[in-house]
């Protein structure tokens, strides 16, 4: 057996481990919670450490095997789970330059943050809950990174969304985290719906959801667009909408600072490093599709740049460290998205990885802000130079725009949420009137939905 053959034989075996490790962790921690067993902190730590080390080790192994075997595109097919006429639901994992990089990054950052959290969350009532959600998040991240079909991607995408929203609401004994988590959740649902619609359209056109189908079986990023222009536009548009919700691009940016309700490590890994990049990752995955349509390219660039400009502006006026960092993150995510639009795929990937590492470090050190400022002043030998305030009417208008976070939340509330709620209330009234007319006067209901 030659070396490449050996590699090819080993790859499917090693390749499933990065997915199975977090899956096993979710099962153990989740089932324990379900049957009412509360594992000790030490037990949880040992499990998390084992799962992350095994997963990370296997990811490095896959990388090494691919290098040794010279393969750039490895597909692990877990088979078709649903086969009905004109509909096939495949579970497929793909290792290529993009997914392997994202996988290693996920394991590295999640692993480090897991270690950080094992001490940070010490004696916290929700220790077990935190790590169950953490495991769910890692599983979602890994699944989404390696997904070879849009359904596989969607399952990972959902797990990431669910665990993120529940972690925002981690301190559910106070109202603010629950309110903000609900907001995050609603934006995620919009984005999920777009992704789901994209999947439906893909199936409608090609009966399966493989990215290969869409982008030909070339290794990333050399794929070419395999579908007619109109389909590309529809699918691409929906995917961009999905990515915009997940990566907090304009006009969905309002949820990102609100997501800082959870404990510091979850803010760090979710919104500084991983999940905020997931939208950008989706766009990278379908980059060939975007490149083939000038309209899509234009939309992606415009969306990225608008977000970057807005977030850079907002970051200037934030007065708390977590909001400042979250808008700073958003600035870079916007630029990464714009880079994808321009077609600098490798640069965008490098930017994404570098940014995730840098921001994780900054988030994890966020409570050191006061000390950092003192050290800075001491090193500079005096007070920090006071910046100038905005003086011209234009810059004041920009200040207002920045401090009110682009009025994005207000606009969404006023122009989307309120009309929808009013329409639903009108439907409710109509239904009540109709049923009342049909049933005659009985059981008056006066519940108003606000």
């Amino acid at each position: 057996m030659t070396d490449p053959d050996l590699c090819a034989a080993l790859l499917p075996v090693v390749g499933v481990v990065p997915v199975l490790a977090p899956f096993a962790l979710v099962l153990v921690l989740g089932v324990a919670s379900l049957v009412g067993v509360r594992p000790s902190e030490a037990a949880i730590n040992a499990l998390v450490r084992a799962a992350m080390l095994v997963g990370f080790g296997a990811s490095v192994g896959v990388f090494a095997l691919m290098q040794a075997g010279g393969s750039r595109h490895v597909v692990l097919d877990a088979g078709a789970w649903v086969v009905v006429p004109d509909y096939v639901f495949d579970v497929k994992f793909v290792y290529d330059r993009l997914s392997t990089a994202m996988l290693l990054l996920s394991y590295l950052l999640c692993g480090i943050v897991g270690k950080f959290a094992s001490r940070y969350m010490h004696r916290e009532g929700g220790y077990n809950r935190f790590f169950t959600l953490y495991a769910l998040f890692v599983l979602g991240m890994v699944t989404a990174s390696l997904a070879g079909t849009i359904e596989t991607l969607f399952s990972g995408w959902e797990l990431v969304g669910l665990s993120s929203a529940l972690l925002v609401a981690f301190f559910h004994e106070r109202p603010a985290p629950s309110v903000n988590a609900l907001r995050v959740w609603v934006v995620y649902r919009v984005s999920d719906a777009a992704l789901l619609l994209a999947a439906v359209v893909m199936h409608h056109r090609a009966s399966r959801g493989d990215f290969d189908q869409l982008l030909s079986a070339q290794p990333w990023p050399e794929g070419v667009c395999n579908v007619p222009q109109v389909d590309a536009l529809v699918i691409g548009g929906l995917l961009i909408l999905a990515a915009a919700g997940k990566s907090a691009l304009v006009p969905f940016s309002g949820w990102l600072p609100r997501a800082m309700e959870g404990p510091t490590p979850s803010s760090a890994v979710f919104y500084g490093a991983m999940s905020v990049h997931l939208g950008a990752y989706l766009l990278l995955r379908v980059a060939p599709l975007i490149e083939c349509s000038p309209v899509l390219t234009g939309v992606v660039i415009a969306l990225g740049l608008t977000t970057a400009v807005f977030a850079a502006l907002a970051a200037r006026v934030q007065t708390d460290i977590k909001s400042a960092l979250s808008f700073a993150s958003l600035t870079q995510v916007g630029l990464i998205v714009a880079e994808i639009g321009v077609g600098w795929d490798y640069f965008a990937l490098t930017h994404l990885i570098g940014h995730a590492c840098l921001r994780t470090l900054q988030f994890v050190r966020a409570p050191s802000l006061l000390r950092d400022y003192r050290d800075l002043e001491n090193n500079l030998g005096g007070a920090l130079p006071a910046p100038d305030g905005p003086a011209s009417p234009l810059s004041r208008a920009l200040y207002r725009l920045a401090i009110d976070r682009g009025f994005l939340d207000t606009a969404l509330n006023t122009y989307v949420v309120s009309p929808v709620v009013r329409a639903l209330q009108a439907c409710d009234r109509l239904e009540l009137r109709t049923t009342a007319a049909v049933n005659g006067p009985s059981s008056p209901r006066t519940v108003e939905v606000e």
């Binding site: 960092l325 840098l358 500079l380």
Partner: protein
């Protein structure tokens, strides 16, 4: 909305001069309630309920609790746990009840024993009253009516037998009372009585008590509770079923106030900030285009209308618009302030203490904050009320719907439970008349949960007080192994964390003597280190320093120093640039795409191996840090003291006064050892916004190393010694003072100016340092017993490594336990406490009463001790008793904001007080100050000095006196010293501290250490 707003007059009818004055008074009074915590970088511990100090402790905490919506004491459940664990003894409860009731204790309540007996019964077992539905379920679906409660007393257990006699004697023969018929019916009727089993009798007894009690409750009148007034418009909207107007208002106000107060997080300051809160707010919301939430639509028009109106006039106008009578102003403004108390308090602090911040704000900011809040409140409430129906806000009721009265079943549940504890038979209950039922229910209502908690708390404190005073009387009755000619003397801060450190030093070196003093060591100064940017005050917050001291690099190192300072500046610029620009678009992109991946290296290292990484950083940092050889600018050349070179430092006379004062305070005036080591202290930890709260409280929340160093330098000065000699304190030429710094987090002691020790004495001095180093290791070991993550059986060295790692760990939320568990303050000679294991719970202040016949020294010591130690103790009390209310809750979601404080998560009120992780192991008891003096001196001191006596007379701290030459003690109670009688016969003994604490993580009893 708009037309309603137009209907408002431009201003209120001009307030008359008296009304304007009284408004001023009311605003100031309401503002007095705001938290007095300043910027978090300078954390000063203080009484959280400072606004209620003029009331007695219990009245104050109950009143404060009602105003702030916080708990005054722990829950009954917690106290009952302590009762179970023996942390409260039944005897303590009885003593407190007896003292509480006085002559009324022995009065009989109906036929049910004395009032003392009744109240003790009410405290013994939990009395639960659920909502009506839950109670109905409980009575119907559980065995409540068939089996006696598990914790029924022997008297309760006798009930079935007593009921049986009653039934057989009176009921089977005569007519069955109406109320008991269902009880008989359930068990098969009167005819089956002879065949009833024991279980049937038990069930019948319970059922009849329940039915009789319910009937009684229907006979007894209900107490009337007045309906709550809805003063704030927001309360009216909320009570009418509308949304909470504060949600939107607080969001706007939080964001704006944070921007207004910001000390440098944002790179774009708020426009018009220099013109004040109101002007900046008006400029932002009227001068620029933007979208507003629906509830705030009327805001710009309203602000435009108020242009040029003075803030207090706006307040007056709002009061007028709401039609509030003057009598309600105070309560209304208090409630308005408290809706965002943390931010309001910070506006007040930054306004008043403009010297303590980099970017000051204008005077009157707090009034403007209030004015803006009132306008926002009304705008929001009017808009939300308009959605609730026609008529808007004016149509909403101003009085809350009365809370549903207790149902007869709910009231009866109390009697039902008590009957099983106190053995109230159905017969006795059945015999009660309507008036007697009224008496019984009134008696129960007079001792509600709040009062039971008060008594529990007093009992808890009593148990601890007895333990403390017994230990001090039994141990402190004689001198304990004080060396006559000590090898060295050690002066530490009076901080309770140094208690264990001193104890270990004495255990290792029985020929050493230790002292405690407020850690600024009577040297009050503004200090600037060689590598520092600013002068910081190093003294208790009640003192304003009059002197400046600056650290310079020694001449020989000047060249290298300026090179390093240059490198530091370059590094500072690079770091600053990275810090700010990594958050911008373009440069941020360059940094993150090119260098970003490199960030994973420090990230991995600092989280995986904090201790090693920190050592590595220290080694690399050597090229930047200022050289270790520095000198202090101690001697002033020109008057007055100021920051300029010639004006730094002190005159020789001032130095003498400082030195003399400290030596007199601690009573070190005769027997000087060859070495006197003076240690300041502070705490080093990572990722800890509350770091300053762990530092030396007597140094205004900074490290006290410089004070120790200055004091040592002063006392080594031959001219100072000459002056001291002239006033009767002779320091031998062979005595050398050395300053140092004790890091209480990683238990490292750094000696300052150690190389000035005369060459010949070096070996002896090194031996002293070895003792100190070993003591630090043992101290680390004693501390780690409190950390669950540290094994209990590790060695001293492993414990030291553990605390070093803790202090460098980014993920560590409990770098050390801070002042948690502090409870005692002893002011007296160390020989009274030496060899006594006080479990790091006692502030130890050295004071020699034999050298202070008039009490003058005691009074000046207490002037610092009461505010500093009392403040620490009370802050811990409140932050523990109600962590989310008085404290700042869990540290995990904290978010540093404006460089002034922390918020919870994305945006919230500024969180004041201590985080839960800091107070977790605290025991909330009031500080017990034990003075070694005479009752006459103590009494005079308390009554003649309001700044000392205030807290003592009102009971916020407790005081006892230990006789100067014997074990006698007096406790200060109700304004007088009364003799204290020791309860224990002897104290437990152990061979060493380690032998005593080993294997335990809990608070320990005080013990005598033989070593």
């Amino acid at each position: 909305m708009a037309d309603r707003a137009d209907a408002h007059p431009e201003t209120a009818p001009p307030p008359g001069p008296t009304s304007a004055q009284s408004l001023r008074r009311v605003i100031d009074h309401a503002a007095h309630l705001l938290p007095a915590q300043g910027p978090i970088t300078v954390f000063i511990h203080h009484n959280t309920l400072h606004a209620f100090e003029d009331q007695a402790f219990d009245a104050g905490v109950q009143h404060g609790g009602a105003v702030f919506g916080c708990k005054p004491y722990l829950t009954e459940e917690t106290y009952r746990d302590k009762l179970r664990l023996g942390r409260i003894r039944p005897a303590d409860v009885r003593e407190v009840l007896q003292h509480d009731l006085g002559a009324r204790a022995g009065e009989r309540v109906l036929g049910f024993g004395t009032r003392l007996h009744l109240r003790a019964g009410m405290m013994e077992s939990p009395l639960r009253i659920g909502p009506p539905a839950e109670l109905a379920w409980f009575m119907a679906e559980t065995d409540a009516l068939t089996r006696l409660r598990r914790d029924a007393t022997p008297a309760g257990r006798r009930l079935p037998g007593e009921t049986r006699r009653w039934v057989l004697r009176d009921l089977v023969t005569g007519p069955v009372p109406e109320v008991l018929r269902p009880a008989f019916a359930r068990l098969g009727g009167v005819g089956r009585v002879p065949r009833w089993s024991d279980a049937d009798w038990e069930a019948f007894a319970l059922e009849s008590i329940w039915r009789v009690a319910v009937r009684g409750a229907k006979l007894a009148p209900l107490p009337v509770t007045p309906a709550a007034r809805l003063l704030r418009p927001r309360d009216r909207v909320l009570a009418a079923g509308g949304p909470d107007a504060d949600a939107g208002v607080n969001e706007v106000l939080t964001r704006f106030t944070a921007a207004y107060l910001d000390q440098g997080v944002s790179r774009w300051p708020l426009p018009e900030r220099e013109h004040g809160f109101l002007a900046a707010f008006t400029a932002l919301y009227t001068g620029t285009p933007g979208l507003l939430d629906a509830w705030a639509a009327a805001l710009p028009a309203e602000l435009n209308r108020l242009r040029g109106v003075a803030p207090t006039d706006i307040v007056a106008r709002e009061l007028h618009l709401l039609d509030l009578p003057e009598a309600d102003w105070a309560a209304f403004l208090e409630a308005t302030f408290l809706a965002l108390r943390g931010w309001g308090g910070m506006v007040q602090q930054v306004e008043v203490r403009a010297d303590s911040v980099a970017h000051a704000i204008t005077k009157g900011s707090l009034d403007e904050f209030l004015a803006v809040r009132l306008v926002l409140d009304r705008v929001a409430a009017e808009s939300l009320a308009a959605r609730l129906g026609p008529g808007g806000l004016d149509a909403l009721p101003a009085v809350a719907a009365p809370a549903p009265a207790l149902t007869p079943e709910q009231r009866a549940a109390l009697v039902f439970q008590l009957a099983q504890v106190l053995g109230w038979s159905p017969e006795a209950l059945h015999a009660l008349t309507a008036d007697q039922w009224a008496t019984l229910y009134a008696e129960l209502a007079a001792f509600p949960s709040l009062q039971r908690r008060r008594v529990f708390h007093a009992a808890f404190e009593r148990q601890f007080r007895v333990q403390t005073l017994d230990a001090l009387a039994l141990h402190g009755g004689h001198a304990n192994g004080t060396p006559t000619s000590p090898r060295f003397q050690l002066i530490c801060c009076l901080d309770e964390r140094e208690e264990s450190f001193r104890r270990h030093v004495e255990e290792i070196a029985p020929d050493a003597e230790t002292f405690g003093a407020a850690g600024f060591y009577s040297v009050a100064m503004y200090y600037k280190g060689a590598a520092d940017a600013h002068y910081v005050p190093l003294c208790p917050v009640v003192i304003k320093p009059g002197h400046y001291v600056c650290e310079r690099v020694a001449t020989a190192f000047e060249a290298s120093s300026s090179a390093r300072a240059g490198r530091r500046r370059v590094w500072g610029r690079v770091a600053h640039t990275m810090h700010t620009l990594s958050r911008t678009a373009v440069v941020g992109a360059a940094i993150s795409s090119v260098l970003g991946a490199l960030a994973s290296i420090p990230l991995t290292m600092r989280i995986m191996t904090p201790r090693t990484t920190s050592r590595l950083r220290t080694r690399v940092g050597t090229v930047l840090r200022s050289p270790p050889q520095t000198v202090l600018s101690l001697e002033r050349q020109a008057d007055p003291p100021a920051k300029e070179a010639a004006h730094l430092g002190f005159t020789v006379a001032e130095m003498t006064a400082f030195g003399r004062r400290l030596l007199e305070d601690v009573g070190l005036t005769k027997t000087f050892a060859p070495f006197v080591v003076v240690l300041g202290h502070g705490s080093n930890s990572q990722n800890n916004p509350h770091k300053s709260a762990y530092d030396c409280g007597a140094c205004g929340g900074s490290g006290g190393g410089p004070n120790a160093r200055v004091l040592a330098a002063i006392l080594n000065d031959p001219r100072v010694r000459e002056n001291l000699h002239a006033t009767g304190i002779t320091v031998p030429a062979a005595t050398w003072f050395v300053g140092g710094f004790h890091n209480t987090c990683n238990d490292t002691v750094t000696v300052l100016d150690g190389d000035l020790v005369p060459g010949g004495a070096k070996p002896a001095f090194d031996a002293v340092l070895a003792v100190v180093d070993q003591a630090a290791r043992r101290n680390a070991h004693e501390r780690t017993r409190r950390f669950l993550s540290a094994p209990l059986n590790q060695s001293f060295d492993a414990a030291k490594r553990h605390v070093e790692e803790r202090s460098e760990d980014l993920g560590q939320t409990r770098p050390e336990c801070g002042h948690a568990s502090n409870a005692i303050c002893v002011v007296g000679r160390r020989e009274r406490t030496r060899g006594l294991y006080l479990d790091r719970r006692a502030f130890l202040t050295s004071y020699d009463p034999t050298q202070d016949p008039t009490g003058a020294v005691l009074t000046r010591i207490m002037g610092a001790v009461v505010p500093v130690c009392g403040g620490i103790n009370l802050e811990y009390y409140f932050s523990y008793v109600d962590s989310p209310g008085y404290g700042s809750g869990s540290k995990l979601p904290h978010n540093v904001t404006s460089l002034l404080g922390v918020m919870d998560g994305a945006a919230s009120d500024l969180r004041t007080g201590l985080p839960w992780q800091m107070v977790e192991i605290h025991d909330p008891v009031r500080l017990m100050i034990v003075l070694e003096t005479t009752t006459a001196i103590a009494r005079a001191m308390i009554y003649d000095n309001p700044n000392i006596g205030g807290l003592i007379l009102k009971g916020w701290v407790q005081v006892a006196v230990l006789d100067i030459d014997g074990p006698g003690m007096h406790l200060f109670q109700d304004g007088e010293f009364v003799p204290y009688h020791v309860e224990a016969a002897e104290l437990p003994r152990a061979r060493s501290s380690t032998d005593w604490y080993r294997g335990s993580r809990e608070n320990l009893p005080f013990a005598e250490i033989d070593a």
